[in-house]
């Protein structure tokens, strides 16, 4: 006898490989190849998540991809938010889904950013490109209880001014007096008056107490290596740095093997790792 996944407790609880049904409510173009989807679960049960966690999203008939949650955990009932770059078949199909279209959701999976660990400390966020998307829920969480944290610096790098993700929101954050925001681009056009260069070069300029800081880094792997090195040079210990890793993922729940990184399953033990754990793994080529 077949039963349907609309009985969510069974589908989600019993078989971790069966997606729940969601519907796209909103689709917003962020950049030339990046869209943000707001998804509502068909069963009406919002999906509670922690900043830094991801879902496995299905474009029916095409396939599934791991996509971080980019929304606000305190507003989970107003929809599940994902920001997706179209790079191939699955991500392409996901970004073509419009209002009313059906999408499959498994998750949330993985270990996210520690949010409370930084209370009482300065917060430094180093993001490269689409790496800002998985960090956005963390930014929301910190800003929501801003007084619990020390200084707050967001350092963000994009390839060109046209690649600056969440640009309007960054401008809003920038207007607050209690945040330091630095944006840099690798190559600029004529109408860019900001920083030019790699994001890691912003680290020495940011104001934070390296002995009392928690740093969060997400972006392409090379950028994270350099970002972690710059933070270390500034005096932040590996035990106070968190990085989010990307690996091939087919299950998200520790059963398919694909995401292994040395001793770790990135889907289950990560994607966010503390750098003292991660650094020895990253030091081995092609591990």
């Amino acid at each position: 006898m077949a039963y349907t996944a609309e009985a969510p407790a069974i589908a989600a609880g019993d078989d971790p490989m069966v997606p729940r049904i969601g519907r796209v409510r909103r689709r917003v173009r962020e950049l030339s190849d990046v869209w943000t989807l707001t998804v509502e679960m068909e069963d009406g049960r919002p999906l509670a998540f922690a900043p830094g966690q991801f879902n496995m999203l299905t474009a029916f008939g095409v396939g599934e991809a791991a996509i971080s949650i980019s929304g606000d955990r305190d507003r989970a009932d107003s929809g599940l938010i994902h920001t997706i770059r179209a790079v191939g078949p699955v991500s392409g199909a996901l970004t073509r889904l419009g209002p009313g279209d059906v999408i499959g959701v498994r998750g949330p999976f993985g270990v996210g950013w520690p949010v409370d660990a930084a209370k009482g400390s300065d917060v430094v966020i180093v993001a490269g490109g689409l790496g800002l998307a998985p960090l956005r829920p963390l930014i929301y969480a910190v800003l929501a209880s801003r007084k619990d944290y020390g200084r707050f610096a967001l350092l963000f790098g994009a390839r060109t001014p046209a690649d600056i993700l969440f640009r309007r929101e960054i401008e809003q954050w920038r207007r607050r007096l209690d945040v330091e925001i630095q944006v840099t681009v690798d190559t600029s056009g004529e109408d860019w008056y900001g920083n030019v260069g790699v994001v890691t070069a912003l680290v020495p300029q940011a104001s934070f107490d390296p002995q009392n800081t928690i740093a969060y880094v997400c972006g392409p792997e090379v950028m994270m290596r350099f970002g972690a090195a710059a933070l270390r040079d500034a005096g932040v210990p590996d035990t106070a740095m968190y990085l989010s890793m990307e690996r091939n993922m087919k299950c998200g729940v520790g059963l398919c093997g694909h995401c292994q990184l040395g001793t770790a399953f990135v889907c289950r033990d990560g994607p966010v790792f503390r750098n003292d754990v991660l650094r020895p793994l990253m030091a081995v080529k092609e591990l």
Partner: protein, 378 residues
């Protein structure tokens, strides 16, 4: 499912001519009986209903990259080592549909058959293979998310194990502490005895289900003579292992040597063909694939066995994390012998020797470990 630890209770003797009764009782009880049989010049695991389907009087010769069947001088039913198949093909299906989605008008539903509990009786499971099953149990059942398909097949499985009467040319279970003597995890356990011209089996039950089946079999109590004969069989097997590996420190040895030059050396020989992962009884990796009909109203997802030797396995946008054979062989071997301990609290290798025998170029995991050990840079 097996419940007890080691074989307990009295042992009995069942004569060769009466052993068909075991199959009859298992079939009567609704089990799908699978066991060793000879096909295409190899001993494989398949459905068997009658005892004549067992490879009576056959044995195997195994070496690196070589497998050959030959006649024995006697009519032993289990007188060979393990072949290219393992029991994972029954418990962890090579292809498994995960769900089907159907669109009707505005409505999409995802349907998945509740896993159909197949009640397998696995006959002829060796000690190393019992350990391999226990290892896959840890992977599929003991984590935060269990695999319902594996669970459905595993829960009701009835296991008839056999103490090995002959070590294969590539076996090293003694080194891995997994054999040749069966030490638990079975419903019934057999030792094949051929001494004194009497073909018989020492049989013991390891669970309530095993005792129930045993009660229905024609048998006589075992004598101390029979017990001694069984011990001798196991001792002879233990002392004739084809391979050996020092395993107590291999976990740390490999972690210390992730940049050893030996990985370059093995990469020059390895074809990245994936044979070793397919025959390994503990390898569990899978990939998923999507299918859809032409109209786009139905789609489905299936998973199938995958191998860390493929390029796709570690692909992320922009390229494969492990683009070289060196890193892929290293991933496989360090996972088996090293990181598996960190992940699951046990070795991922049981010393069955399959990966050595079925490697087309005869790469030998025991030799690779020995090579690294003997040339560890200080």
């Amino acid at each position: 499912m097996t419940t007890d630890g080691a074989g307990s209770g009295p042992t009995a003797i069942i004569e060769r001519r009466d052993l068909q009764a075991l199959f009859d009782v298992l079939l009567q009880r609704g089990y799908r009986v699978v066991g060793p049989t000879r096909r295409d010049e190899a001993i494989v695991y398949d459905d068997i209903a009658v005892i004549d389907q067992l490879p009576a009087g056959w044995t195997d010769e195994q070496e690196g990259g070589r497998y050959r069947l030959k006649r024995r001088e006697d009519a032993a039913l289990f007188g060979y080592a393990v072949g290219p198949h393992s029991w994972k093909k029954f418990l962890h299906a090579p292809i498994q549909q995960l769900w089907r989605a159907r669109r009707e008008g505005d409505k999409t539903t995802v349907e998945h058959e509740p896993p159909r509990p197949e009640r397998f009786a696995l006959v002829g499971v060796r000690a190393c293979e019992l350990h391999a099953i226990a290892i896959q149990d840890k992977v599929f059942l003991n984590g935060e998310h269990a695999d319902p398909h594996y669970r459905a097949r595993r829960n009701d499985a009835f296991i008839v194990s056999v103490n090995c009467g002959k070590a294969g040319g590539t076996c090293f279970c003694v080194s891995m502490n997994t054999g040749p003597k069966v030490a638990g995890g079975f419903d019934l356990n057999l030792t094949e005895l051929l001494d004194g011209g009497q073909h018989r089996f020492l049989i013991e039950a390891g669970s309530d289900a095993g005792r129930e089946v045993l009660d229905q079999l024609p048998k006589r109590p075992a004598t101390s003579q029979d017990a001694k004969a069984a011990d001798a069989v196991i001792a002879a097997t233990a002392s004739s292992m084809g391979r050996s590996m020092k395993s107590d420190d291999v976990h740390q040895l490999l972690l210390r040597n992730l940049d050893h030059v030996r990985w370059n050396n093995v990469a020059e020989r390895c074809l990245a063909c994936s044979n070793c992962t397919m025959v390994c009884p503990t390898c569990f990796c899978t990939s998923v694939e999507e299918a859809s009909d032409l109209t786009g109203t139905e789609s489905s997802r299936s998973r199938r066995w995958d191998s860390c030797f493929t390029m796709d396995y570690s692909y992320v946008h922009g390229g494969s994390v492990r683009s070289t054979t060196r890193s892929r062989y290293r991933q496989w071997m360090t996972h088996k012998l090293s990181t598996w301990h960190d992940q699951f609290g046990t070795s991922g290798c049981v010393g069955c020797g399959r990966c050595i025998t079925w490697c087309p170029v005869g790469i030998d995991i025991t030799e690779e470990v020995a090579a690294i050990r003997s040339s560890e840079p200080h």
